[in-house]
């Protein structure tokens, strides 16, 4: 997406390397760069996460803030999700024009929004406190601080971590009785003021994105900035996979094409990769299948992940 021009020789070199399963930085086609996840980086928010791919190559910050609002008439029993993905000017190195930046932001937002919303991962009805009166609006703001390749995947990982570790204060609806003007009382109160009693967001089966890039006749994941140069990647398919291995969304970028007979195998190719990435991500933010962590994690957990293997860093809780 953010790319610079490369000479034909460089592109040919890259293609030849991909054919032999050796990319410019030595990775195989299916290898991700090191992924580092830190949660709770913005203490003033309800949830946040920062994901860094590679050696400070791509850095994304996702922040969840919740606010109370009145639900709309048609959807009186539902809360809302407002998503915004933006590329910060810090990340723009190649003097994209204003219009291009707006287009890029719009593209990232709509692509990711369709995965998140259409997958039904966030239970909107559980966000409602009093039908027609009070409901939570979840604002998910994702900012790309560094964009050296594979932005959309990083966005999805950061959003996943932020949504999964976000916590809202418990709220009880009160109804019944009349107030001084003889109107029925519809109000709410906090169940508890203890921050540790905060409830996690009603998300399940949240998807992450795996972007498959076609270089020559092969497919690579997690492209670095030099691989995303103009003319490097012929076609790009982003597959959103949820925790059960279902495909929640497809999004295609870049101008080229994929052979029609192989569309299905291609999409399925992303599923085991997503599974591995998800496993590591969940371990990194302290969520395992056995017991789900309730409430806010004190401090943060930093996990350095090698391609394919995940180990816990020594600096947990710093």
């Amino acid at each position: 997406m953010l790319s610079q021009a490369r000479s034909r020789t460089e592109l040919a070199f890259m293609e030849a390397g991909v054919e032999q399963d050796v990319r410019a930085d030595g990775r195989r086609r299916v290898d991700y760069r090191d992924i580092s996840v830190t949660v709770d980086v913005v203490p003033s928010s309800h949830g946040s996460a920062r994901v860094i791919l590679g050696h400070d190559a791509t850095e994304v910050l996702a922040v969840v803030k919740a606010d109370l609002s009145q639900p709309s008439y048609e959807r009186a029993r539902c809360g809302t999700l407002e998503l915004n993905v933006e590329v910060s000017p810090l990340a723009l190195l190649y003097k994209e024009t204003g219009r291009e930046v707006e287009d890029l932001n719009a593209e990232l937002t709509t692509a990711f929004e369709s995965f998140l919303v259409e997958s039904g991962a966030l239970d909107m009805e559980a966000l409602c406190i009093t039908p027609g009166k009070y409901a939570w609006t979840i604002y998910l703001d994702v900012i790309v601080l560094e964009g050296q390749g594979n932005i959309l995947d990083a966005v999805s990982l950061a959003a996943y971590a932020a949504l999964r570790t976000a916590a809202l204060p418990g709220v009880d609806a009160i109804s019944g009785g009349l107030d001084s003007a003889n109107n029925p009382i519809e109000d709410f109160e906090l169940s508890s003021t203890d921050i540790l009693d905060a409830k996690p967001l009603p998300v399940q089966n949240l998807p992450i994105c795996i972007t498959l890039n076609r270089i020559g006749n092969f497919v690579v994941v997690d492209t670095a900035a030099e691989e995303e140069a103009e003319g490097g990647v012929q076609a790009r398919l982003t597959v959103a996979v949820d925790e059960t291995g279902h495909i929640c969304g497809l999004y295609k970028g870049a101008g080229g094409g994929f052979p029609v007979g192989e569309m299905h195998t291609l999409a399925q190719h992303a599923v085991p990769i997503a599974k591995k990435v998800l496993e590591g991500l969940k371990a990194a933010i302290g969520l395992t299948d056995k017991k789900e962590k309730k409430g806010i994690e004190k401090g943060s957990s930093k996990l350095r992940c090698e391609a394919g293997t995940w180990r816990r860093d020594a600096c947990v809780g710093e």
Binding site: G120, G249, G255, H264
Partner: protein
């Protein structure tokens, strides 16, 4: 000229049953979990079979470089300008394709503001351009990208250095499938404008759903209306299984140039949906090709590109003859 306010009603297409290859059919008989083509209870709200497109009307007899496509209640108008000189860079090896996708204010259920109302932002974007009506909304920008990426592979951009081709899409009415219709219509408009192409790009959407969660039986409907997309059959509320898959295909090279999916599908559902979307796109392509050939014949020389090529080439005539000999292999009948 027939304008969009008094459109000619499309006649019902006669679509033969999908020509699936024998391997797939044999496997289905073994599996017995897919819907069989002859199942009568899979008729839809408008009486179509599961693998039947809506009636298609294509009009090319308009200003040079434009096309109008109607799929029952989805109406799309596309105009192509160019190739013209590129203003943004001094030199480029290859041409660039830009797309501007807009909904007209009356296209959707709720009227969209035109941007000229008091308190609205300044209308128009830099450099002006067709369509008008305020800055693009996010979904229009996203759709612009979808359409331009779908078409990029079909245009011989290497033959257009230092040039830009602008495609303006205006959705007049939408009842589901407008992005797909825009892609097909834009491809026709490019052909009509005489821009050199590798082939036509045709697009089709399908909606896939399971009648009950967990069961592996997937039902797929080709070319859904808005009601079918978003209704119970869409099955996307609350994480149930089901979704919409759209695909743009260039049959000449056998490449999928654009694909999108909204909703959850498992392996089997995804496979069926992609397969049927590709078949649907082939059906649309056959209709587009037929209409373009008829138009070429009628127009003789005509403006833009086709000048001098009033006569069909020998290959086209041979293709035509073959189509006439085997009418069942060409799907659809456009008047």
């Amino acid at each position: 000229m027939y304008n969009c306010y008094t459109p000619r009603v499309a006649t019902k297409t006669q679509v033969s049953t999908l020509q699936t290859n024998s391997e797939i059919q044999a496997q289905r008989k073994k599996d017995d979990t897919g819907p069989s083509p002859a199942r009568s209870e899979s008729f839809r709200m408008d009486g179509r079979a599961y693998n039947q497109l809506r009636p298609v009307f294509i009009d090319l007899n308009t200003a040079s470089g434009s096309a109008y496509l109607e799929m029952e209640h989805t109406k799309v108008l596309v105009a192509v300008y160019g190739p013209k000189a590129r203003q943004d860079v001094e030199f480029s090896d290859e041409g660039k394709l830009i797309c501007d996708f807009r909904y007209s204010p009356f296209a959707l259920r709720a009227r969209r503001p035109t941007g000229k109302e008091k308190g609205g932002r300044e209308g128009g974007r830099e450099g002006g351009g067709g369509g008008g009506g305020g800055p693009q909304r996010d979904e229009e920008r996203a759709a612009s990208r979808t359409v331009s990426q779908a078409l990029e592979a079909s245009v011989q951009l290497a033959k257009l250095p230092k040039s830009v081709v602008e495609v303006f899409v205006l959705v007049l009415q939408t009842d589901g499938g407008e992005v797909g219709a825009a892609i097909s219509c834009a491809s026709l408009a490019l052909a009509e404008a005489g821009i050199e192409l590798f082939g036509l790009v045709a697009s089709c959407e399908v909606v896939a759903f399971t009648p009950s969660e967990g069961k592996r039986e997937w039902r797929v409907r080709v070319d859904p209306t808005a009601a079918e997309e978003g209704g119970e059959e869409g099955g996307r509320e609350g994480g149930k299984e089901g979704g919409v898959v759209g695909l743009a295909l260039m049959p000449v090279s056998g490449e999928v140039t654009q694909v999108w999916q909204k909703g959850r599908l498992d392996t089997r559902g995804s496979e069926r949906a992609l397969e049927m979307a590709a078949d649907g796109a082939r059906m649309v392509h056959a209709l587009m090709r037929k209409r373009l050939l008829t138009y070429m014949e009628q127009e003789g020389g005509g403006e833009g590109g086709w000048g001098g090529l009033g006569e069909m080439t020998r290959d086209d005539r041979a293709m035509r003859a073959q189509d006439e000999k085997h009418p069942e292999s060409v799907d659809g009948d456009v008047k």
